[in-house]
């Protein structure tokens, strides 16, 4: 399993390097702008909190890339055909790919959450966003990343185009939001009053889509004979 994980890491190395760049870039930009005195009226603490959330949102792209590249990436360069005649079960192949994708979770989330939490706790007294609001934002970012990954994974398991798989993953949350808006509009539902209710709908739908996509993708790949 060690060699399989190494191979999958190596296949996705460019995505991990991009993730690291995207992890550092927003904070570096904020640091540079503060150092050059271009921060404007925003305090450095607020700027870094914002850059953490911004980086988190941006880094969810990595999950779409990892999901979309997982199987289709090896189909398109036909290296999947090499793996297909080696004595390794489909279950082990999937597990290795999943473990590599899971390794991106702490890489993406931990640094940003730590920066956010430290600054949130240490910032001077003043108006602070409520914890529910922060959790809601972080939750929707997490669910969006999960949907990116799972839908891209589904298409990656079925097709040989990583680009199409990544795009399918990226577009799904937007389709869900659009779908919710259309339902509300067409059914002439009353104003839900709180955006939290819409977010609950969004989160719920995305979770169902993610679970269904991940399971169907995995089952399809496990049952398939061809690489």
């Amino acid at each position: 399993m060690k060699w399989l994980i190494w191979k999958d890491y190596r296949v996705n190395r460019l995505i991990f390097i991009t993730t690291l760049v995207l992890l550092v870039a927003p904070h570096a930009l904020v640091a540079i702008s503060i150092w050059r005195g271009a921060g404007g009226p925003t305090s450095p603490a607020d700027a870094f909190m914002a850059s953490s959330v911004y980086a988190l949102g941006l880094l969810q792209l990595a999950f779409a890339l990892l999901g979309g590249n997982s199987i289709a990436g090896e189909r398109i360069d036909r290296s999947a055909e090499f793996l297909a005649y080696l004595p390794v079960s489909r279950g082990r192949i999937l597990t290795s790919k999943l473990l590599v994708a899971l390794a991106a979770v702490p890489l993406v989330w931990l640094p940003n959450l730590v920066i956010f939490a430290v600054i949130y706790a240490a910032r001077p007294a003043g108006p602070t966003p409520p914890v529910e609001y922060i959790l809601c934002v972080l939750g929707s970012i997490a669910i969006t990343g999960l949907t990116f990954f799972c839908v891209a994974w589904l298409f990656s398991c079925m097709l040989r185009s990583p680009t199409f798989s990544v795009c399918a993953g990226l577009i799904t949350p937007f389709l869900v939001v659009t779908g919710i808006c259309w339902v509300v509009y067409l059914l002439k539902l009353p104003n839900p009053g709180s955006p939290l209710i819409v977010l609950w709908w969004y989160g719920g739908l995305c979770l169902v889509i993610s679970a269904a996509s991940f399971l169907s993708g995995a089952l399809y790949y496990l049952r398939r004979v061809e690489p």
Binding site: R10, S79, F82, A84, Y85, L86, P87, V88, V225, E226
Partner: protein, 304 residues
């Protein structure tokens, strides 16, 4: 059955069928390859050789029938089959970014019976540079690496799917030396599919000819070649006689010469040709595998 049995044929295909859309690529193919034999699978392009081999290797789903390798059902236990079979494909898709040493390490970790000594011997034999990246290897070296990976886990069955197509004569010779060495040292069962019939004739003791997914001929190569002859007759007026001897595979007229390829050759067949009207002179010649193959394929094309 989950474990490979120690008796019975090395490879057994029963009614193996593969249909793409509505086109059968392999049609009800039944075949047994004995342990320790070297089987040459011949056929023109599109005959279904690679499709058969891919089904055998568990890389392609089987529409109908059954494929067993060392007694193990490929459809049920593909991983067990892959562990006991060495495979050299026609085209190589080994991870291009890996170094030769990485590829060996990667495969070593996946096979349960990897033999470091065999691997080192093959590295020395083929003079492989372990630090070189796969993408920088020549086609000949890539094929040698593929053979090294195929034999280093001491497989009981070696499957070679047109492994030497596109190789220069020196690389081809070195590759075949490696295969011969494996056959001689370990007595493995070898299934080789190739268009280079001279090489098949050199390696194989049994052959099968596939055409349109169907097995046209199957048997021991020496028996086939000893009982199949080419009758060369001179025609008086250059007109092809209407009566053909029994067992005629293919016949053609070139000027005043009539060439008849006959299976199951016996003296009576020669007498039959001699007795035909318009035949002046008759002689019998041995036929090589390549000519026999060409005649069988031409005869099939003429009937379809």
């Amino acid at each position: 059955m989950t474990n490979s049995s120690s008796d019975g044929p090395a490879i057994e295909l029963s009614g193996l069928t593969k249909v793409f859309g509505s086109t059968p690529a392999v049609d009800n193919l039944s075949l047994k390859i004995d342990r320790g034999s070297t089987f040459g699978l011949l056929g023109p392009n599109g005959a279904g050789k690679s499709t058969t081999i891919k089904m055998l290797m568990g890389m392609l789903s089987i529409t109908a029938g059954e494929a067993r390798v060392l007694g193990v059902d490929v459809a049920q236990n593909a991983t067990i089959v892959k562990d006991s079979v060495g495979y050299v494909p026609e085209t190589h898709h080994i991870y291009r970014w890996m170094r030769v040493g990485d590829v060996i390490g990667f495969c070593r970790a996946l096979y349960t019976t990897w033999n470091d000594q065999t691997c080192h011997e093959m590295v020395d034999l083929f003079r492989l540079d372990l630090s070189k990246k796969v993408k920088h290897l020549s086609k000949g070296t890539l094929v040698k690496l593929a053979l090294l990976l195929a034999v280093s886990h001491d497989p009981q069955v070696l499957v070679l799917d047109e492994p030497i197509s596109g190789l220069d004569p020196v690389a081809r010779e070195e590759f075949l030396d490696g295969v011969l060495r494996t056959i001689c040292q370990r007595g493995q069962t070898v299934l080789i599919s190739s268009h280079t019939l001279d090489d098949v004739q050199r390696l194989a003791d049994t052959v099968g000819i596939l055409y349109d997914g169907r097995l046209l001929m199957h048997g021991r190569l020496d028996e086939i070649l000893s009982t199949t002859k080419r009758i060369r007759a001179t025609l008086v007026d250059g007109r092809r006689p209407t009566s053909l001897p029994a067992g005629t595979i293919h016949d053609r007229v070139q000027g005043r010469e009539w060439l008849v390829t006959v299976s199951g050759f016996q003296a009576e067949k020669l007498e039959h040709v001699r007795a035909l009207e318009g035949v002046a002179h008759v002689e019998v010649a041995d036929i090589g595998l390549e000519d026999l193959f060409k005649d069988i394929v031409k005869a099939q094309r003429a009937t379809t």
